[in-house]
Symmetry: C2
Subunit: 246 residues, 2 copies
DNA sequence: TCCTATCCTGGCACTGAATGCCATGATTCG
DNA sequence: CGAATCATGGCATTCAGTGCCAGGATAGGA
């Protein structure tokens, strides 16, 4: 193990005692920083303030996190590398793999409300942080798109981009609703997430089918209630196929 | 008109002559800054350097543009407000309006290669600028999504988000190919743009039809060649409707 | 056990972005 | 012509971010 050494002066009983001190973990720093950002605002919190609050020197904070913003999004970065590795090694069919990857991202938010919830409030208040958050999700979208293009064939890069964008949009749709109301039952949240994913992937799968081509001659999309009669559906589709209907 | 006054000292024939000087336009500043960024790199170009190069004081640069990055994206901002205003006043049906709005954005790039092309190179080289570019397109996407939700009914917010994301993805797909190869015939570029838009809007329109609901019980998407027989299409759809097929 | 290479840390100094304050000059309105 | 308004630019200050360097801890080898 690294960083098990070092010593800290404890004040007690009038004596100073040297005690083994573990390196301040990334998570501890992030939690402290989030607390300061929330209490005093992002701009008004200085790196010096975070340094004194965490006991880590200002210089080391910059070395470990890169920038003040990066402290807020550090584990977002970790999650991204995890997801990217997962995709790279995934044996599933492309769309299912992307679906699972989106699930991992969503899980990353739900798992850590202590950080993601205050971060959401900060992101809403500060345009710069919002841009950063957006850029993070764009990285996922780009990774999804490249993955789909790679696995589905280069001729489908437009379709891949659209599908990736749709998956991310559906993910963000459910995510935002959770961030706004985190009190909801976790089971219900996951149900809505799966609904949204099914919604996009059902519509997306044909776009990525081999042989369909990047630009099909005709596309038909039908939406109908679950209790609709199959014959009725067929009849309506038949009328939709009339030359003047399209 | 504003800023037509002022005077500048010209050195000629050993005499100093006061001459009317127009305020340095935003565009001139942007062009000069882009030139410096390209020549010396974004980080190594200082605001002082831009100030001396343009004749505008450092302080005024910050006042007029907000930040160094903002100089690069200033007219992107203007374009956004134009597009947002257009959407707000658009009498067309929602999807067509969004289609036109995307066209305006694309036009904004094509119209001004002197800025957009070097900016693209800078954006590719610097992660921070890339994030900023991504955030800009996300603003369009968000505007499209809100507009569609507003016009199509609040129950369709998921569909609106997915459609907006798809439109932006298609837009970016064509845009990137142009940025990489700006030499292509403008007509051909527009043809590919319209193809991509048709590709997404054909698939998207049914999602926004009133009465379909935000989460339909069943969704069917069919892609088939233009020369397919209608009866054959119907037969296949009929078999797809069998309980075990879905 | 000792020595050494390596790595992390923190202190210091420096550059440069960004902001607040204020005086000046230009434009517009009455 | 006078007053109000506004953009400008100069100045000082704060603070993010970086380079440099020395000290302490750890791991590996003799």
């Amino acid at each position: 193990m690294k960083y098990t050494g070092g010593s800290v002066i404890l004040f007690g009983c009038g004596t100073e005692v040297a005690v083994a001190q573990a390196r301040v973990s990334t998570r501890e720093v992030v939690l402290a920083a989030v607390g300061l950002f929330t209490e005093y605002g992002f701009e008004r919190t200085t790196m010096d303030g975070i340094a004194t609050a965490t006991g880590v020197s200002r210089r080391s904070l910059f070395r470990r996190f890169g920038s003040k913003e990066d402290i807020l999004f550090s584990e977002h970065d970790e999650l991204f590398t995890t997801v990217a590795r997962y995709l790279d090694a995934s044996p599933d069919d492309p769309l299912t793999a992307v679906h699972s990857a989106a699930r991992m991202v969503f899980q990353g938010y739900l798992r850590d409300p202590e950080i993601t919830l205050p971060r959401y409030r900060l992101v809403r208040a500060h345009p710069r942080l919002r841009d950063r958050e957006v850029a993070m999700t764009a990285r996922y979208q780009s990774a999804f798109s490249h993955y789909l293009t790679e696995r589905s064939g280069a001729g489908l890069s437009l379709a891949s981009g659209v599908v990736a964008a749709s998956v991310i949009a559906a993910h963000n749709h459910v995510l935002r609703s959770w961030l706004r109301d985190p009190g909801e039952e976790e089971e219900a949240v996951w149900a809505r997430f799966d609904d949204a994913m099914a919604y996009v992937s059902t519509a997306a799968r044909p776009l990525l089918e081999p042989g369909s081509g990047a630009r099909p001659g005709r596309v038909l999309v039908a939406l109908y209630p679950s209790d609709a009669d199959n014959d009725e559906v067929l009849r309506r589709i038949g009328s939709a196929l009339e030359p003047d209907a399209f």
